[in-house]
């Protein structure tokens, strides 16, 4: 067999050492009723060549960003990834290592985690960040759970309807069985942002936290100042959720606008789309909350010879120590994806991140202008945006074939998530969408 190195003589000798003669004797203490029915009805194994052929055939049935013009964002983004990123994460010392519970032989992973935490703090403008969570959606849910720990006696969670719909679903799933949490959906305005008047009416001392996208699902950059003021008045915590963290290289970071918790999805920073996973969730907050945080943390310390080193720290929050009293059940930090994004941020650095973010904003704004002026699409929201925006195209569903024929996916139809937004498309433009593609997008809309 391919991955088991045992020769017949290895097996015979090892069995003899154990005092057995047949491999089957290793499990003859299991009930026969179980053993008799254990045969796995799957096809026989394949050669590596056959595996590659089969997988390539499946892959060929998918429409990729190489063959299609995708104007798709909505939480997962197609960005340029320097080749250095895959080169680093392909190294077996990173890819095949375990969680760094033995710090003496895991300094590579631990230092990278520490560097990642630093980069996320710098990018979000927050004081502390953990080493990663599953994804942006569960990070948003964990933000609510942390607010619950910090805000005993308060039970109302205000979630913006302009937050990513799947994130709202995941939050709802996570808190469904917690009797002391009540979710309140906050409507959006014509600006495409959270309704501050609704909040002003509803947010009082019972409010545990306010959760909103920054930028939100419509690509709109929320105005955080009035929300912060409301939170100050009521004692609610402000949690921002960023699905496109590249935007934070250009926009005022959540920390500067007074966010208490800033979470999001990190895929856009150096991780390929891969049908939406694996990426990673990031989780940052004010320092005073650190002992209530979920997830792993790398911390700096010294070894017995006073040399700088890194360890997993504050583990008394975690499930393997605290069991049912843990801050979370999570015991993964998507570390390899976190490493990819650490390399990505190191490669682009201060000026490269800014440059990439500017190219996104510039191209997206130009595309929107063009689609409105030349193709006659109608603006839907008035708020400022980064690299995605919502436009209305009459008879949208009838246009599908026309776009498919040109191998264009013009955006995400919003009616499925928001019945009130019929014929509306969430259009994303990144540095991967060339001018000619945008021109063709506009032309194809204009043909109608």
């Amino acid at each position: 067999m391919r991955y088991t190195p045992h020769t017949p003589s290895d097996k015979a000798e090892m069995l003899r050492e154990i005092g057995l003669s047949e491999v089957e004797q290793l499990f003859d203490h299991l009930p026969a009723a179980l053993r008799d029915k254990a045969q796995i009805a799957l096809p026989p194994g394949l050669s590596e060549t056959a595996v590659k052929r089969r997988m390539a055939a499946l892959a060929a049935k998918n429409g990729t960003a190489e063959d299609w013009s995708l104007f798709l964002g909505g939480g997962i983004y197609h960005h340029a990834i320097p080749s250095a990123v895959d080169a680093v994460i392909s190294r077996s010392e990173f890819a095949t290592s375990y969680t760094p519970y033995q710090p003496e032989v895991s300094q590579g992973t631990l230092q990278a985690m520490f560097e990642f935490q630093t980069l996320i703090c710098q990018l979000t403008g927050m004081e502390v960040a953990n080493a990663g969570l599953y994804d942006g959606a569960s990070a948003a849910a964990e933000a609510v759970l942390m607010a619950r720990r910090l805000q005993e006696g308060k039970h109302r969670v205000f979630v913006s309807r302009a937050l990513h719909p799947q994130y709202r679903q995941v939050i709802a799933t996570y808190v469904k069985n917690l009797v002391d949490v009540e979710l309140v959906e906050v409507p959006f305005t014509g600006r495409g942002g959270i309704d501050p008047e609704f909040l002003a009416r509803q947010v009082d001392e019972r409010a545990m936290c306010v959760v909103l996208g920054y930028p939100n699902f419509f690509g709109v950059i929320e105005d955080l100042a009035p929300i912060r003021a409301l939170c100050d008045r009521s004692g609610a915590l402000l949690a921002t959720v960023t699905t496109e963290p590249l935007s934070l290289a250009l926009l005022k970071p959540p920390g500067e606008s007074g966010a208490d918790i800033a979470v999001g999805e990190g895929q856009s920073l150096g991780v390929p789309m891969a049908l939406g996973g694996p990426g990673f969730g990031f989780f940052a907050c004010q320092k005073r909350f650190v002992r209530s945080m979920p997830g792993r943390l790398a911390g700096q310390t010294v070894d017995s010879e006073e040399r700088r080193g890194f360890v997993l720290t504050l583990a008394t929050r975690e499930q393997h120590i605290r069991r049912e009293k843990a801050t979370s059940n999570i015991c993964t930090s998507q570390t390899l994806c976190v490493l990819a994004s650490t390399v990505f941020m190191a490669m682009l650095g201060k000026s490269g991140m800014r440059r990439m973010a500017e190219v996104n904003a510039r191209r997206a704004h130009r595309a929107r202008e063009r689609l409105v002026k030349e193709a006659g699409l109608a603006p839907v929201f008035s708020g400022p945006f980064f690299n995605e925006f919502v436009l209305k195209a009459k008879g949208l569903s009838r246009l599908q074939e026309r776009f498919a024929a040109k191998k264009i996916v013009p955006g995400i139809p919003l009616a499925e998530f928001y019945p009130e937004l019929q014929d509306c498309l969430l259009i994303c433009v990144t540095e991967m969408n060339e001018e000619e593609e945008i021109e063709q997008l506009a032309r194809t809309f204009g043909e109608g």
Partner: protein, 474 residues
């Protein structure tokens, strides 16, 4: 990386594009303070240097109990990087994702077959999220029957995630003790099992590496009071082609693909924790579900009883691609051989070391075995010292101090991908360490000696947490 570099340097080139960004100035930040300014080669040197400070499976043997650190095949890595898998968008029209859906459907079917379950969801991003999703299924099912109940029974040998997931699902945890054979006795379950208990969470083989041979009788006790049985499938690597959880009275389980199905651990993720269920829980599975329709596949969300969504999009697809490649590579015979050789390797180590270290329980082991430091304690040498000394020999230590019921536990899981020669070298190292414990205990207490850093001050890290780099202040 924050201590080198030079202002203005970057490893990324993109031609400057003219024109305004379109964003009002008041929304923009200044430059990101402290962000790196490095060139491409500097970045690569930095991370290559860091990689040299790590152990990994391709450089060292990693006998971590209950973690299944087997070889991560290269072909899986190659196929996961095909643009047809890596450059596809989850919100593209289903017509552009048919190959992905076919793969996911095929993986669900294969995992259901391996575990003897009726249906599988691939959404959970890790084992712990699978536990949470599985318990939510239990809760939804019982709620539908009129009462979600209040408690979950968890044996004292369980992974810490079991009680943590139970709490997150709104349940109280009732811990039961395993018996002197290291197993859960049906009578122990019967004593606490009543109509207030929603489920029992059991790991099989358990974390002592012992098969819970009374599992069907235990399941009968739980079922007789209307509860369900959850199987923590972390140790599925012991069971493929040997016994199916679906025949053990299990109603719901999760499988860790990063363990059993060879996907890389990545230094702490990404993993994947698919959940398998019997038909009684099928309608509650997370949405969307992938269904066959005509000659293709479609996504369906119209299940009124579904627990909702536990993760965005489709779970850790890239991990699922690798797991599928692994399963079709091995096929039915290869999977069965995998578990058989995992058992052979574990039993071999156990036999060869049982005269040197005290075995925790005399029962036969499956894919892992647990020793204690009792013999070495006489010389005041602890499990931690043994583990640290192993690093000097170039081996990753076993899982230590777990399960909690064993004082000074050393939990060894060799996996099937290790050759007899590697096992012998490890056995020699452990034997030599046991001798050192007798002759020169200080050597162990001050170990490791040859690693990039020596023992680290964890107490200091926790007392005064330094969790990010900051420039030195004068």
């Amino acid at each position: 990386m924050f201590e080198s570099g030079s202002p203005g340097r970057t490893g990324f080139f993109w031609p400057e594009e003219a024109g305004p960004t379109g964003l009002p100035q008041e929304l923009l930040r200044d430059e990101i303070p402290g962000f790196p300014e490095l060139g491409e080669l500097e970045v690569l040197r930095h991370f290559t240097r860091l990689s040299h400070l790590n152990f990994g499976i391709e450089s060292q043997f990693y006998p971590l109990g209950s973690c299944t650190m087997k070889y991560n095949p290269k072909v899986n890595e190659a196929v996961a990087r095909l643009p047809g898998f890596s450059l596809i968008h989850p919100l593209a029209p289903p017509a552009l994702l048919q190959g992905a859906f076919e793969l996911l459907f095929g993986l669900e079917t294969a995992l259901a077959e391996i575990a003897g379950m009726d249906a599988v969801t691939l959404q959970p991003a890790a084992g712990a999220q699978g536990e949470l999703a599985g318990l939510m299924l239990v809760r939804a099912y019982l709620s539908e029957k009129g009462n979600p109940r209040r408690k979950i029974i968890v044996p004292d040998t369980a992974h810490g995630t079991n009680p943590a997931s139970s709490t997150l699902c709104g349940y109280d945890v009732v811990q039961i003790r395993s018996n002197d054979q290291g197993m859960v006795a049906p009578s122990a379950v019967a004593k606490v099992m009543d109509e207030s208990v929603a489920a029992l969470m059991l790991t099989n083989p358990n974390t002592l590496g012992i098969f819970e041979k009374n599992i069907n009788a235990i399941a009968d006790v739980v079922h007789s009071k209307g509860g369900l049985v959850y199987l923590d499938g972390a140790n599925m690597n012991a069971l493929m082609g040997i016994a199916k959880p679906g025949h053990m009275g299990v109603d719901v389980l999760h499988i860790n693909l990063h363990k059993t199905c060879s996907t890389p651990h990545g230094g702490g993720g990404p993993g994947a924790g698919p959940v398998g269920v019997k038909n009684l829980l099928r309608d509650y599975l997370p949405v969307p579900r992938i269904m066959k329709s005509g000659n293709g596949y479609e996504l369906r969300e119209d299940f009124s009883k579904a627990i909702g969504r536990v993760r965005s999009f489709f779970g850790n697809f890239g991990v699922l691609v690798r797991a599928y490649a692994y399963i079709i590579s091995l096929g039915s015979d290869g999977l069965a051989e995998t578990s058989r050789m995992a058992l052979l390797n574990a039993n071999y180590i156990r036999r060869k070391l049982e005269s040197v270290f005290q075995i925790a329980y005399p029962e036969r082991c499956m894919h892992e075995c647990v020793f204690t430091d009792r013999l070495q304690q006489k010389r005041h040498v602890s499990t931690l010292d043994i583990a640290k000394r192993l690093l000097d020999y170039g081996f990753h230590p076993p899982t230590i101090y777990f399960p909690l019921v064993v004082s000074g536990a050393l939990m060894i899981e060799p996996t099937e991908t290790e050759s007899r020669e590697t096992l012998d070298a490890f056995i020699d190292a452990m034997t030599s360490i046991a001798r050192e414990a007798e002759e020169n205990p200080d050597l162990l207490k001050t170990a490791p000696h040859s690693t990039p850093v020596r023992r680290l001050d964890e107490a200091r890290a926790a007392r005064k947490p330094v969790l990010r780099w900051e420039p030195k202040r004068d």
